[in-house]
């Protein structure tokens, strides 16, 4: 009996290992298969026979998804399809797309992708080739925003939502310091305003201190203004360079005037006048003549008369099609529809920020939303985060060390040297 039981258990374990392990293509014994095209084709044919009625979209929650959802009914009616939308936070979206990429038949037909995931996703075959599917990025799209869209001349992503770092400020506090918002010409001006706010019993500069990504991204415009960057042209980390150290020392001075807060508190602080300013995104806040806060582009100059660098960091949300989508052609039609200049213009009223001249320079739109002039300028001179496959690990390491520096656990030199050593190991330098 014991033998029989042992045999049954061994069989069960063996069967479950075989069943759950799946077919492993390529060299790895434990790796899941990338694409089992035969099975996919069979299933796809089944779908085609029955008529495709559903497209699944995996999107970044918030205004980014809202503006897409608003455009869907017209497409659904025209193509006799229903679109199912899954809205996720940034980190869950990244994991969600990656996990689904391991499946032979993908669950999603259209995905929203942060520009910084591009290298990782294209290197590992997560995204479908849009050029092969017949999609072309037109000239109306701000050229700088499409720099990461291509790999070997083929487009994989279309820039959908023009998020780019801006300086979100409280009008009253800025005026009290002798500025009107449009004349914040350098980092020194920003520091001066924040110190004045602190002297008046308010918080000066507010930064997001709740995740490694936010530590790094909020600091990047300052780093760029000092002429520094996180990697060089050979992808070698440069986080212990003199520019980086100078920028971080300045940043420490700047944030000493304020506080670390989460996004919602940062916006509330600036809006209520509890705090002077912080790095923000157009998707967070819609300023009008009556609002207490406004935003402007960061000039990229360290001090008056100094060289102005491109200092606005892109957080552009692009859209693409997963390589394992079961409805690529229809998804491409949806993508083309969502990227249409008129469709994109229609989203502006709901908070959409197209990366298009036809929207951002439209006189009618500018009359109602003058801030789009600022956004357009920022998008024209923006910088994408490094297009490297290891970006998630990169910012996690750098953000962790920056957190230690900012909270006084490590000195600037010590923290940045530690970060440099870990990043060099990560990048294989």
């Amino acid at each position: 009996m014991k033998k029989l039981l042992s045999l049954m258990l061994a069989l069960t374990l063996g069967l479950s290992l075989i069943a759950c392990g799946g077919s492993s293509g390529g060299g790895g014994g434990t790796a899941p298969a990338a694409n089992d095209t035969e099975a996919a084709t069979e299933e796809s044919a089944g779908d085609a026979e029955g008529g495709v009625t559903k497209l699944s979209l995996i999107l970044r929650a918030g205004t980014y998804a809202e503006v897409i959802k608003e455009c869907l009914p017209a497409f659904e009616a025209e193509h006799n399809v229903t679109c199912e939308v899954l809205e996720l936070s940034e980190e869950d979206l990244h994991t969600g797309i990656a996990l689904d990429a391991a499946n032979t038949q993908g669950s999603y037909d259209l995905c929203m992708v942060d520009g910084s995931w591009m290298a990782e996703f294209t290197a590992n075959g997560v995204l479908a080739n849009l050029t092969e599917l017949g999609y072309v990025l037109d000239d109306d799209i701000i050229p700088a925003t499409t720099t990461i869209s291509y790999v070997d001349g083929n487009a994989y992503l279309a820039p959908y939502y023009g998020n780019v770092t801006v300086l979100l400020y409280n009008k009253e506090i800025v005026q009290a310091a002798g500025y009107d918002g449009t004349d914040i010409a350098s980092l020194d001006d920003i520091l001066k305003i924040c110190r004045q706010a602190q002297a008046d019993g308010k918080k000066g500069f507010i930064y997001r201190g709740d995740s490694q990504n936010n530590f790094v991204v909020d600091f990047m415009p300052i780093l760029l203004s000092f002429g520094g960057w996180v990697i060089d042209k050979n992808n070698k980390p440069t986080v212990n360079s003199q520019e980086f150290k100078d920028a971080l020392n300045f940043y420490l001075e700047l944030i000493a005037t304020g506080d670390a807060e989460v996004k919602d508190d940062l916006i509330a602080s600036v809006d209520t006048g509890a705090g002077a300013m912080g790095v923000g995104w157009p998707g967070w806040y819609t300023p009008t003549a009556d609002t207490t806060a406004d935003y402007c582009a960061i000039t990229g100059a360290k001090s008056a008369g100094a060289k102005a660098h491109n200092a606005n960091v892109y957080g552009i949300w692009t859209i693409g099609i997963p390589a394992n989508s079961q409805n690529k052609e229809l998804a491409c039609e949806l993508l083309t529809y969502l990227m249409d200049k008129d469709v994109q213009k229609s989203t502006v009223a709901s908070g959409g920020v197209p990366c298009r001249y036809s929207s951002l320079q439209d006189p009618e739109i500018l009359a109602t939303y003058p801030q789009y002039e600022v956004v357009c300028k920022a998008l024209e001179g923006g910088v994408y985060r490094p297009v490297i496959e290891e970006w998630t690990q990169f910012y996690t390491i750098l953000g962790t060390e920056m957190d230690s520096i900012i909270n006084g656990v490590k000195t600037v030199d010590q923290g940045l040297d530690d970060a440099q050593a870990q990043l060099e190991q990560l990048m294989g330098n």
Partner: protein, 299 residues
Amino acid sequence: MKKPVSEQFNTAGSQTRRFGVGMVTPTLIVLLVMTAYPLIFTFVYSFTDYNLLRSMKNGANFIALKNYTDLLSNTYFRQSVFNTVKFTLLAVVFEMLVGFVMALLINSITKGQKLMRTLLLLPYLLPTVTVALSWRMMLSPNYGIVNQVLTSLHLPVHNWFSDVKTAFGMVLLIDVWQSAPFVFLLLYAALQAVPEGQYEAARIDGANAFDTLIHITIPNIKGALALCALLRTIDSFRLFDKVNLLTGGGPANSTSTITQYLYNFGIKSLDFGYGSAGAIIMTILVLILSSLYIKRAMG
């Protein structure tokens, strides 16, 4: 004389055994598939450089103990282990104390016991996400009620989750607030089972309240106390959602637990091999901590 084999096979005893095995087998299969299989897979992955995306093309390579040596030599991981152990010990002690006091209090009152019992249980019934977000709103430096009260008392407003000195304490406080009712529930049930005669005898012998607590109440519910401590230890050791929602492990890694570390450095970057090694280390630590209670409870 020896019985034929077929006769032996059909005896009542062997039939009972066969029936027993037949009944247990489905459970064993489910356990193997749902528990043993993931555990074995996690263990195997922990010796590889498996990355969800990169391994789709190139597969995973066997790297022996590299993940383990990397983890154990990483100062942030060691700090996360320290934070987790510190959090577990403090959380279990405070939750046991608060839960025990609550149970004694409710057990001693004669009127409104049901209502109080229900009200005290409410925090435990709430989803952790709701609890974390509610506390974050209450402690917000802008619109939080706590800081508004402080302002009205002319006291300085504090940024509770961004200060190295207060963030850990706040996460601990919230966990105690939510989980103490669980301890209360188990201990309250145990208190109900203590024979009333023992208390009467103690009263006749002139024992005071403290003596009664030490010599009658605690010995009678020590099994429940050990069980509570065991369950809370295991649960506290796996703390993730509150930390992830409230602090993300910061500031300066001061609230980072093992699970938060593994999420940041293993799951978020899809380095599941590295994450698996961390999970194995964590399992071993939980087993070591829990074994103390299990040994005590079994003994």
